[in-house]
């Protein structure tokens, strides 16, 4: 886990405000995502982790504030340019969100055909490689999403998120609903891909094991902004009731025991 403090952030969120009617979810939120790091994002229910993800990716226009990706403010770009930048994201939604009328291979091939203009055969060939990259068996490529188990759906969705070889991967609770073996394998897959492909990963999660196993930094969302975004050791020592309950409750201590400080 390389120190990335000297590099320039690839995503800069400044002064983000998100409001739903009278309810303010984010108020003047700042966050940076560094290159080649896995950033875990935690927070209690209702602190707006998914809303933050959607604001950065461009699915939601924030009420105020700016999101700069690779140095450019997405909202200020024209639609063509924004589409070009958005191709550098890969997004994995909480339930997979695979297109139910297409097979797994067709799901992955879709952005390749649409954006890169590959022929169907080339796109299909690439797609099958991504299926294997995500740890699925080759036969899974011709199945429809309804025929896959929960873990396989997530892997297929990961393969689709990686289809265009993005620079940043956004994962919304990827291990939710997976059995412990599947979840650990998924964690390892993310870490391996991050190291091998040089990705940054923005990982919204409740899973303490994921945080301890693969995250370089952890950002805590609390009171409508980022309370702290730092290495796991420093976050766990933060003097805040919620953070202490989170990291030092019975599950927190069990997870910490399993993953002694992996050297920082």
């Amino acid at each position: 886990m390389v120190s990335t403090q000297s590099a320039k952030p690839i995503v800069e969120v400044r002064g983000l405000v998100n409001r739903f009617g009278k309810q303010t979810v984010h108020d003047n939120l700042d966050l940076d995502i560094m290159p080649r790091e896995v950033l875990g994002v935690v927070g209690g229910s209702g602190t707006g982790k998914s809303v933050l993800l959607r604001s950065i990716v461009g699915l939601r226009r924030p009420n105020a504030g700016s999101v700069k990706v690779f140095g450019q403010d997405l909202q200020a770009l024209s639609e063509e340019q924004r589409s070009l930048q958005e191709r550098r994201f890969g997004v994995l939604f909480q339930s997979g969100a695979l297109f139910s009328s297409l097979t797994v291979a067709e799901n992955i091939a879709l952005p390749l055909v649409e954006h890169i203009g590959l022929s169907r055969r080339d796109a299909d060939h690439l797609a099958r490689m991504k299926v294997l990259l995500a740890g699925l068996p080759a036969e899974a490529a011709d199945k429809y999403p309804s025929m896959l188990s929960g873990g396989m759906v997530k892997r297929a969705a990961l393969a689709r998120a990686l289809a265009l070889d993005p620079d940043i991967l956004f994962l919304d609770e990827p291990t939710a609903g997976l059995d412990p073996i599947g979840a650990a394998a998924f964690d390892q897959l993310i870490r391996t891909l991050c190291d091998a492909l040089g990705l940054s990963v923005f990982l919204v999660t409740h899973d303490l094991d994921t945080l301890y196993a693969i995250c370089d930094r952890v950002a805590v969302l609390s009171q409508k902004r980022v309370l702290i975004a730092d290495t796991l050791e420093r976050v766990a020592q933060t003097d805040d009731t919620w953070v202490q309950d989170y990291f030092h409750g019975p599950r927190g201590r069990a997870a910490a025991y399993q993953h002694p400080a992996a050297g920082e």
């Binding site: 990716v57 699915l59 997004v91 939604f93 969100a97 297109f99 879709l110």
Partner: protein
């Protein structure tokens, strides 16, 4: 354990404690509630409480005990020796911590008249917002349609072909059958009514004018509203609730281009085609009835059609078809995008899309009829 043991025994000469016994469970909730309501207030305050006679207790019974004694008293009782085993103590203690301390929040008693006016006002506002949204979506689709027209890369012939098959080809039998029957019904109507004037021959004109100008296109559009608008809403709505629309946007693709335009274009092709089939089928139904009940042979039917009914009427009817097609497709797709995530929402918007389509189609038809009349066509 006798079944007839009373739930509450008040203190008397033999015992100076309030004894609770029996099954304080959900099954006996109604009876227990009325018993606890009737208790004299001071009986609880002064007497000792004896809970050891309770046979079975669940959260419902525990809550009644909490209501009856009040949270403070219950906690006082639990801190002493109650004669209950550990699970029951824990249950009562848990309920005691979650028991609300005050009475249930009062529903503000409202004046029904004011409330009705308020609801009318809110619903007017919602209808207005809805109309604006529909107009906006129509504009968005039209601009998307024109911009995609000049970019052959963005055409999706496969999707359009699939939609044509589903909305058009598969609908031919039902459209033909229904309009055949309506044509026959109109001919029957003509036969019955016009006979009194000795003008049965004009049944042919009745069937022809009504079908070519109005019923051909109207019936087809209403059938499409029921069949196709609901399908569009359900398809797009389930995609929305499965986050597939978000996934489309996250992949940098345009849901309008991918989902809406193929459906709109497909319906623009199939609804006029189905209207043509409907007109033919209706005339056929009318001709059959005329042949069997009015002794107007098919040859005579065709000759009368030829002489009395001009092509003008066919064109006037057909001209409405693309407009209806566009509106039905737009409303179906828009309602699909409004679905919010639960199964109930899908059902609600599917119903709403069918109702809106039928309303809009009949409204536009009425306006067109007025327009044609004023123009003298």
């Amino acid at each position: 354990m006798p079944d007839t043991s009373p739930f509450i025994r008040l203190p008397d000469a033999q015992r100076d404690s309030l004894c609770l016994s029996g099954d304080w469970t959900l099954a006996n909730y109604a009876e227990l509630r009325s018993l606890t309501a009737e208790l004299p207030g001071d009986a609880v305050k002064q007497a000792r409480i004896d809970l050891s006679g309770i046979a079975h207790i669940d959260t419902a019974g525990a809550q009644l005990i909490c209501d009856m004694l009040g949270v403070d008293r219950l906690q006082q009782v639990l801190s002493g020796d109650t004669g209950l085993n550990r699970e029951r103590q824990t249950l009562l203690a848990r309920i005691a911590t979650t028991c609300p301390r005050g009475p249930d929040p009062e529903q503000a008693g409202a004046n029904p008249l004011i409330e009705m006016l308020e609801r009318i006002g809110v619903s007017m506002g919602q209808h207005w917002a809805h109309v604006i949204e529909l107009l906006g979506f129509i504009g968005l689709t039209l601009s998307g349609l024109f911009s995609s027209l000049f970019r052959p890369r963005s055409w999706r012939p496969t999707a359009i072909a699939v939609q044509i098959e589903q909305t058009g080809l598969n609908a031919v039998p039902i459209v033909a059958l229904l309009t055949f029957m309506v044509g026959a019904v109109i001919a029957f109507l003509g036969a019955t009514v016009l006979q009194t004037f000795g003008a049965s021959i004009y049944t042919v004109d009745l069937v022809a004018f009504s079908f070519l100008r109005e019923f051909g296109v109207l019936l087809t559009a209403i059938l499409m509203a029921g069949r196709t608008a609901s399908a569009f809403t359900a398809q797009i709505g389930s995609m929305k609730s499965n986050e597939e629309i978000d996934a489309i946007r996250a992949l940098g693709l345009n849901p309008l281009e991918l989902l809406v335009l193929p459906r709109v274009i497909a319906l623009l092709i199939t609804l006029p085609a189905l209207t043509f089939i409907a007109m033919l089928s209706g005339l056929l139904g009318g001709a059959m009835v005329c042949a069997f009940t009015l002794d107007i042979s098919p040859v005579m039917f065709i000759n009368l059609l030829h002489d009395d009914v001009g092509v003008r009427h066919f064109l006037l009817g057909m001209a409405k078809a693309p407009v209806f097609a566009f509106l039905v497709a737009i409303i179906g797709c828009l309602e699909g995008f409004k679905v919010s995530g639960s199964a109930e929402s899908v059902g609600e918007h599917t119903t709403s899309s069918v109702v809106q389509c039928i309303f809009v189609v009949i409204l536009v038809d009425a306006l067109a009829a007025l327009f044609y009349m004023e123009m003298g066509w």
